[in-house]
């Protein structure tokens, strides 16, 4: 049985941690675990109520001790939440409602009966899938970093230790010199997951070699890309893996103080990381004299206000120091002169979460996953016009097609794929010809896009690429700190030029003007935000120039999106005068012309709301 003393004692050496782990494993009495995802997405669908109902139900049915209920972090398939997985069989129930709880316990837990209505259905075949790993969304994934989320309670250090946690730290502190750790990371080929893709080992080495007694390690959890939430999900779901990564990094570079920079909009991540820090300190895995080795390293949490530019390294450090989160020129790398002018190692959440894996399984193992210069896996947030959206972890080198069609399940509504935007707001849009591109740092940037933090937005034929470029640009314009001219003034002008193109007032020289401005941004901006802000425009001009030309020269929006350029009209041959559209039109723009006669649409009255187009069953309304 559990010894309460045991729970709170400090671990004072390597053997201590291992016997503690063995003890935890030995005391396990349950033979089934019901995991309820309590990540931000599933919570929004009511997961916490379901979790409580499960606890009550297990008690009422007298199953305590043999069945345990566990609240886990995000498992990526948030769209289908709340998710409930019954382990060890890994039966996945999706969109679970509170009223389903008692029958799940009675049928599935007690009688091993599957509840078909709660299973995931493959849209194309209507086939029901029983196990988590057979759901197409998960099948092609390789969830090395993210997978543990589904098995542990992020607020429980014991859970993490049972799953093999802090083993890497143990190994490092007991048998590796800091130089050996740096070498291991260098050999692994790991590159920063936050955006730049800088070689992690090299960064560690620079920080290690930088002169100075005081050094810092910062974990960047300031994810600002709209739609991207992998860092949040990791920090919420498995905070100890990040802490373990940070302690290893600190040992390697010689730092004694660390910061986790989290945006205020991430309350669960803030809470879970605070709990994790406290528990790790109590256990002697963080703080003074870690595992009795004499190595000290503590972590403070720094809250960010949520400005996109604060993800930029110098701005982030300014913000931790209590100054305005504004970038400064970094001709001297922050690894040498960062926080308070001291050598500072800044790694993002996902990068750090990879560290324990590399140490445990070895650099060669890690190097064996992925392609060319991109090793390991990458977490993407897949959103937009695909059947399955959510967070996915895939090996580097997978193709865009596999991601979109196999994991994502293809484009809904029988529509045609048009583009995928990778790399967040300052990434680029790639066309159909690039679908077989291998997804890695180098291939993406060669194609005019980037890995960025891993946002992936799928677009179909109904998206207008000029409109899309304008959307991302105006996001960046909003988020620019405003310090330097090419970014502040350049983005404003680019947005204004796109505005006029969309209004049908585009001029012949506009494309060239946009290219000039993008280039002056890329080459002349002070920080990385501005430096990549031209991508959405450059990549859409590169791959979808015809759409720009149509807008500018023919005053036409091929996708039928840009209101000033489109016109709804009746295809007389198809219209039988059914009048459905007449009832639907809010502007009284359509008039009845007699039975079996095509209706008439008055362009002057039409407000281009699209209602008639949506309602017509005979394809008699078209837009061009």
């Amino acid at each position: 049985m559990v010894n309460i003393e045991m729970e709170t004692c400090r671990l004072t050496d390597y053997a201590d941690l291992e016997s503690y782990r063995a003890n935890l494993q030995a005391k396990k009495t349950e033979n089934k675990v019901i995991t309820i995802c309590c990540g931000t997405g599933c919570l929004a669908y009511g997961a916490s109520k379901i979790g409580q109902s499960f606890k009550d139900e297990i008690k009422n049915q007298g199953l305590e001790g043999t069945v345990s209920v566990k609240f886990t972090g995000c498992q990526g398939f948030c769209e289908r939440g709340p998710l409930v997985v019954i382990r060890p069989e890994n039966i996945l129930y999706q969109r679970v409602k509170p009223e389903d709880v008692s029958r799940i316990v009675t049928e599935t837990i007690r009688n091993d009966l599957i509840l078909d209505d709660l299973l995931y259905t493959i849209p194309s075949t209507n086939e029901k899938v029983r196990c988590e790993e057979d759901v197409p969304f998960y099948k092609k994934q390789l969830r090395l970093v993210f997978g543990t989320n589904g098995y542990i309670d992020p607020t429980s250090l014991d859970d993490y230790i049972q799953a093999g946690g802090y083993q890497a730290l143990n190994k490092v502190l007991s048998s590796m010199s800091p130089d050996e750790v740096v070498d291991e990371i260098k050999i692994s080929g790991l590159r920063g997951r936050g955006g730049g893709g800088f070689a992690t080992g090299a960064k560690w080495e620079i920080t290690r070699e930088a002169p100075g007694e005081l050094k810092y390690v910062i974990c960047n959890c300031d994810e600002g890309d709209p739609g991207a939430f992998m860092d949040r999900s990791l920090m919420e779901g498995n905070p100890h893996s990040i802490i373990e990564g940070m302690v290893i990094a600190a040992y390697a570079v010689g730092a004694r103080q660390g910061y986790i920079y989290i945006r205020n909009e991430y309350p669960v991540a803030l809470k879970n990381s605070e709990i994790a820090i406290k528990k790790a300190e109590e256990k002697g895995l963080l703080g003074k004299n870690i595992l009795g080795t004499g190595f000290d390293f503590s972590i403070k949490i720094s809250r960010g206000g949520g400005a996109f530019v604060c993800g930029e390294s110098t701005a982030l450090m300014a913000s931790i120091e209590g100054r305005t989160g504004e970038p400064r020129a970094n001709y001297i790398h922050t690894s040498e002169k960062g926080l308070w002018e001291r050598p500072t190692l800044l790694n993002n959440v996902e990068t750090l979460a990879n560290i324990p894996l590399i140490i445990n399984k070895g650099a060669e193992w890690f190097y064996g996953i992925g392609t060319g210069n991109s090793k390991g896996t990458k977490i993407f947030s897949l959103v937009g016009k695909v059947h399955n959206t959510g967070l996915i972890e895939v090996p580097m080198g997978i193709t865009l097609r596999e991601i979109i069609y196999e994991i994502g399940g293809g484009i809904p509504g029988g529509k045609k794929f048009k583009a995928v935007q990778t790399g967040g707001p300052s990434g680029g849009c790639l066309p159909e010809e690039k679908l077989d591109l291998s997804v890695d740092f180098d291939e993406l940037s060669r194609a005019g896009s980037m890995m960025g933090s891993g946002a992936m937005i799928v677009m179909d034929e109904d998206n207008c690429m000029v409109d899309i470029a304008r959307y991302f640009l105006s996001f960046l314009e909003e988020e620019s700190c405003g310090k330097c001219v090419p970014c502040r003034e350049g983005l404003k002008r680019m947005r204004q030029i796109l505005d006029r193109i969309i209004e049908g007032k585009g001029q012949d020289e506009d494309i060239e003007l946009l290219i000039d401005l993008s280039e002056s941004l890329t080459m002349g901006a002070l920080c990385g935000l501005g430096g990549s802000a031209g991508n959405p425009v450059l990549s859409t001009i590169r791959h979808f120039k015809d759409e720009y030309v149509a807008h500018i020269q023919e005053k036409r929006c091929p996708a039928g999106v840009c209101k000033p350029l489109i016109r709804y009209y009746i295809v007389e041959a198809n219209c039988n005068g059914c009048s459905l559209c007449i009832k639907e039109c809010p502007a009284d723009a359509i008039s009845f012309q007699g039975k079996k006669q095509p209706v008439k649409l008055d362009q002057d009255k039409c407000t281009k709301c699209g209602a008639c187009y949506d309602i017509c069953r005979l394809n008699a309304v078209e837009v061009k």
Binding site: E479, V485, S520
Partner: protein, 243 residues
């Protein structure tokens, strides 16, 4: 000593100096708008961009911030430099069309009119947000009375919180340093008015007890008294009447 080449000629300087330091000493012309030897460098205007080559990689950097490095090859007017610099000047010209300095710079680079003339201008106060005024105020005058408020395109020079009660001592340093004359200082007999791009404040002038002339802002004299330890009454007379 660090040795480097600029436009093919060899130069050397003490480490820690910037490319701009070296170039200016050598008489090589690099335009600047947000740099002043009186205040710390900031890197905002980007007109001082030059091209550096290191390990066969070329990139554009700001001369005012880039510390010299051994063996660095610098080009101050390569094709890329000129192209990007011109676009930046054009952007500035569209923002501050009435500024003589900007117009001169534009003419020098052969820009007749900004290609952005057709797009509607939102702010036309000639301020290019170079940040010289707030830096001189904080670093030289030592009062930190004005700042660059807001982010992005909404950024502007103003009194903190746009509050009229402020720390300004009406010394006028900001007005003198401003490259586009976007800050005005107007003296009527008893009042000095400071007009910044987005704020404005009046200051009482000290009147000389002997000749009656209004010779300096009261707050400035109080500030000098405070800093120097002199008594305020030392300033009852204007400099002429003190002798």
């Amino acid at each position: 000593m660090v040795t480097l080449t600029i436009n093919g000629r060899e130069f050397s300087g003490a480490s820690g100096q910037t490319l701009l330091n070296i170039a200016q000493k050598a008489g090589i012309d690099i335009p600047t708008l947000c740099h002043s030897h009186a205040v710390s460098d900031y890197g905002a205007c980007r007109v001082c961009l030059v091209e550096v080559e290191k390990r066969n990689r070329k990139r554009l950097v700001t001369a005012c911030l880039y510390p010299i490095e051994e063996g660095l090859k610098v080009a101050t007017d390569s094709e890329r430099v000129i192209k990007v610099r011109k676009t930046i000047i054009e952007l500035l010209l569209a923002r501050a069309p009435d500024s003589n300095d900007i117009k001169e710079l534009a003419t020098k680079y052969g820009i007749e009119a900004s290609r952005f003339r057709d797009v509607t201008e939102t702010s036309n106060d000639n301020c290019i947000l170079c940040g010289l005024c707030n830096r001189v105020c904080a670093e030289v005058v030592g009062v930190d009375a004005i700042s660059l408020v807001n982010r992005g395109t909404r950024r502007e020079v103003a009194l903190p919180f746009y509050d009229e009660t402020n720390d300004c001592i009406a010394c006028g340093a900001c007005s003198y340093i401003c490259p586009t004359k976007a800050i005005q200082m107007k003296d009527t007999k008893e009042i000095r008015t400071m007009i910044w791009p987005n704020s404005k404040a009046d200051f009482k002038m000290q009147q000389c007890e002997s000749c009656g002339v209004h010779y300096a802002p009261v707050k400035q004299l109080e500030y000098i008294a405070l800093k120097s330890g002199l008594s305020v009454s030392e300033f009852n007379n204007c400099p002429d009447c003190r002798h």
